[in-house]
Symmetry: D2
Subunit: 362 residues, 4 copies
């Protein structure tokens, strides 16, 4: 288990922050899908570091080399394999983390699980950098879905104390879904976006970081995808969304809001709209009984604040079995959420492509 998703698509993500490279193998994509490499590069650029004031200044090209699965940029049926080289030299800066784990990171838990053999350099396999191959897989799925009338988009619905306007859960358009991704800062309400950026700068100035929330949605999803119980669309999306390192919560439709709602409000009334069954509200987030209803599929993920902060933090020395202080050097994003937006879109794109590959009609 671990870095392999074994649905109808099989996705295997490999590499560490400072190893020879990182990459992904995607087995099960339909043959004959032309990949628009420029569109893929533009999508990947949305999660790349070093682009602007609110992300880390490290700049990497992060463009994948396709080792297999394509002929003339078109899927040929064999597994798609992509490699992104790591260009950072392996530094000795990280060896201390084997002894003094960073709070909020996987240093300690990896130390226990792998009995000291884990790769600590740059966070190893636990680095946020490993979301780049996830976005390679997701970016390709997005293109495949768009060709079938399914559009996906996401935006920063919250940074710290500032909330963005929500997606319209009922009348959601492709234009509305695409809008935030086309902006340097992916929000719906630019005024809110300004305040979010101020909050991020404030956190940075205080040698601190801040969390956020991402709302993601899809339209054009056919009714009837997903299954009851363990393989409902909620289960599938959540299973992939939690693969993004900083995600601590996933909710669909009204989400945790349902806990204080009455059934008469939460139930989405059906009506006929020119021969199509629609609901007047969409508290279900487009999923009932694990199965899509044809209404927009909507979910939100909670993104924790970057654990790497410049302040001195309390930790322990595992070798000395004693308390220890830790000061993390290097430059880090004061907020991961903006760069996580395409990752969340990727999670949904993978889940939907996987579900579409499943037919019970033989």
């Amino acid at each position: 288990m671990s870095s392999t998703f074994d649905g109808n698509l099989k996705i295997s993500i490999f590499g560490q922050s400072h190893s020879g490279g990182i990459g992904v193998v995607v087995d099960g994509l339909p043959a004959g899908e032309k990949i628009d490499m420029d569109a893929l590069a533009a999508f990947l650029a949305r999660r790349a570091p070093g682009q602007n004031a609110w992300s880390t200044p490290r700049k990497e090209a992060d463009l994948p080399e396709f080792l297999g699965g394509l002929v003339d940029d078109t899927t040929c049926g064999s597994p798609l394999a992509a490699l992104i080289r790591n260009t950072n030299a392996r530094s000795g800066d990280y060896e201390n983390l084997r002894d003094v784990p960073r709070p909020g990171h996987a240093d300690y838990t990896a130390q226990i699980k792998y009995r000291g053999h884990q790769d600590v350099a740059g966070g190893g396999h636990f680095s946020g950098r490993l979301t780049a191959p996830l976005c390679v897989a997701g970016g390709i799925c997005l293109q495949i879905l768009r060709r079938r009338g399914i559009e996906i988009g996401a935006h920063l619905s919250r940074i710290g104390t500032v909330a963005d306007a929500p997606f319209d859960p009922v009348n959601l358009t492709a234009a509305a879904l695409r809008a935030p991704g086309a902006k340097p800062f992916p929000v719906l309400d630019d005024a809110a976006g300004e305040r979010m950026r101020a909050e991020i700068q404030s956190a940075r100035a205080e040698l601190d970081s801040v969390g956020g929330e991402i709302e993601c949605a899809a339209i054009g999803v056919p009714a009837g995808l997903g299954d009851p119980m363990f393989d409902g669309m909620e289960n599938r999306v959540a299973r992939i969304a939690f693969a993004i390192p900083a995600v601590k919560g996933v909710e669909f439709g009204a989400g945790f809001g349902v806990s204080s709602m009455r059934g008469s409000v939460n139930n989405d009334p059906y009506y006929m709209d020119g021969g199509r069954v629609q609901t007047r509200t969409n508290h279900a987030g487009g999923i009932l009984g694990g199965i899509t209803s044809g209404m927009p599929l909507i979910f939100r993920t909670a993104i924790k604040p970057t654990p790497s902060i410049a302040r001195v933090q309390q930790s322990v020395s595992l070798s000395r079995k004693a308390n220890a202080e830790l000061e993390i050097r290097g430059r880090h994003d004061p907020c991961i959420a903006p760069r996580a937006v395409p990752c969340v879109e990727s999670a949904l794109a993978i889940a939907l492509t996987d579900a579409l590959l499943e037919r019970n009609e033989i």
Copy 2:
């Protein structure tokens, strides 16, 4: 896919609300585990209907017959198979739902997915009744875990506008975990429980229903369980928790609260406690990088209000392609959350047993 969980444990849940029976096959449990049948019955009774004022008056024994997997109530290594007979006669009351789907239910999505062949009687395979076999599997896992020092408990952390006190996320004891399950109404703060019950009665009086939230935790979990990316403990728990029909959100530790937190607050500082590595706070909910830290594992699930309410609701006639009104007869729980508490405990118990079965040490 669908009603089969295919981890190290393989769990296959079958049956419909009005079919010959419902049940579960659990493949992969260790041999030699004695099942305490009385404890199992007591656990199952916590989700059974008809026990008190806030649940539906239908009363069923719901005790499983074990068809395989046991010798003298002890697991023998072969798949454990349990059957619970359905004692309700099949009624014709439900046929109308094939045409006029209930808002908030899976009637419409099942109709699309199964092209009209779904079993509509009593909600078919989508009935909350299917959580009984989940609890059979979970109740057995709970016993297996307890034998290894892992204790699990859950309580109603919210009903409507009323919140319960939370579990202590750092100093959580077995006694605290067991306490709510031993009460007729599973809360920590009985005064809050009184107000919750009033809220449920109020909803019932208004021919309505109300949602809730369940907090669940485990202690004694060894550090090092779970994996990075797709098979982190968050992914695993979420995948099973979303199998409970009414769950619309899952969050771990500080959960969605992280979106408005600073890293300096959210990071849980390490300290040495008599040779053991502990954290002073537990915003991570006991999971970092997908791997357990040894701190209490804590998560919350959002439970939507019962969709079956007595009020007239707006729906459509699929055959006539026209709007239609719907009035649901029969008696239904005005709040599912109390009976969902052992289901959530089961989800965590299954996820932890599954993770414990996985060793990389060969």
Copy 3:
């Protein structure tokens, strides 16, 4: 793992020879498939014991009760669950086998794996009786496939020293495939069948047993099913065929014969037959690169002689750590192969249904 098949179909087999019952859960069948219960009963009767001179006199009805998955004998999309009750009383005859394992049986290996907790009565979960639920799943798949123009049949290609005529690997008809299953003794050449029966009677008379070989084929299989490498049709069929307890070998097309063949002979030349691509020979058994070619899919399985024989055998006492003699009482089939024929058909039917459920075309 173990008794759960986790392909596109999920099949979970449960029960022991003397437990409350045996059965199967099949998750993932298409909805809307009408099951012909009489045809299913006739199919199951072909593997049932006690029907004739060459099988054990124990007679059981072995008709399944469907606990879920059907409405009016038609699949409804939820998991199909079938139960066959065990009517034999639990006897104490088997307790000795926990100490003195039967040669050729799983007694010893189960003792080690389950550390003495295994169910020894009647062979427990290792009993050939567990092929009854496999045949329930297979018999239903056979009906689903036939509706789509795929016909499957099998015959005894060898018993001891006597070989049957082979299927025509190129011009194979539905009539030829159905013929052996319609006979009391499933062979193509009845004269060979007579000699086989004599060989079985001779083994019985000598308090011994004898092995056999089964050839199985399918026609109407569309080209393009299966995948390269781990999920080729050979891999899939073999994985299920080896689930039949006595199978010790599986070969496709020319099978082991290829080892002494030249490429110029083994290569099946293509030709055009009225717009369809055909091959003049079929040494490939209808599979190239793991993918079906549209030619008949043909394979053979080796069935070992019944390990339970009436002669005194050499074994050990595990408790005394000493050699011991063993005399097995009860009546047993002197040859399992005739009753294994529908089991092998079931293996192929399951593999093909599973492969048909997989589409990469979305």
Copy 4:
């Protein structure tokens, strides 16, 4: 599905014969395993082309670059990823195969499955070259197993009409297992090896190819590995062995020989050997009820003759829907079996490592 093995180990093989590279991701290996890179290179050299008179003269280094999963040549717990570059330029020689499929190859079946989008150059993903990454995974598993006292070896048991001496199925030593792999031509009986080479040369001289058979065995396998039914050791080994392109049959122990045996002969009598349970014969091939017995695990695979032969062959033009002649240029092994020996060892090594990773003892 397809090129991903999803057991306890997850193995994903990627690349085509003429793509940027071929490789493998292995997820789930234990951390802390030192890889002996020289031993791995020596193992891989056994399947590399161009080494001697009986294989194709194309010579490639085929040494893998490890992109992830290692720190100082030691497994670190994250997925092991290896890349082997393809150094052959992409030639236009193969385009004709899209229209006129080679008999005995996957050209036609891939054409159907991938609707003309398959990579035809060099056989694409169906090339025998894809067994190199399988051997990378297998060679590492072999080292991990040897460290735990499990030794694996294989030899050419047959080429054409010439048979090698068999492994001693009962008293098999590590020295005997290692001997054939240390020779340039992997047989037990060198005189038989001479005749085999003559047979291969004869086939080459006749512009033809010849098939073979490989016997593979493991000693030191603990009793108790594997499961009943779908995940028996036979099923697991067969599933991986059939991933080797030319394999058309797999048999265990006495294999197809059981069909003509009596139970009194086939049953392996137990005896006590200084406190250890042993069998006097080993017709079971070390597996009973799907579970290892502790006796040597033995199986054989049938390897078909190389389909690429220099003779003119009969085929069809798919575009013209007419018969066509085909003459394959280039140089090809007249017998693949010698180079397949380490592939078969790899299949067993992967299956055993996978099974060892599974414990039910929690």
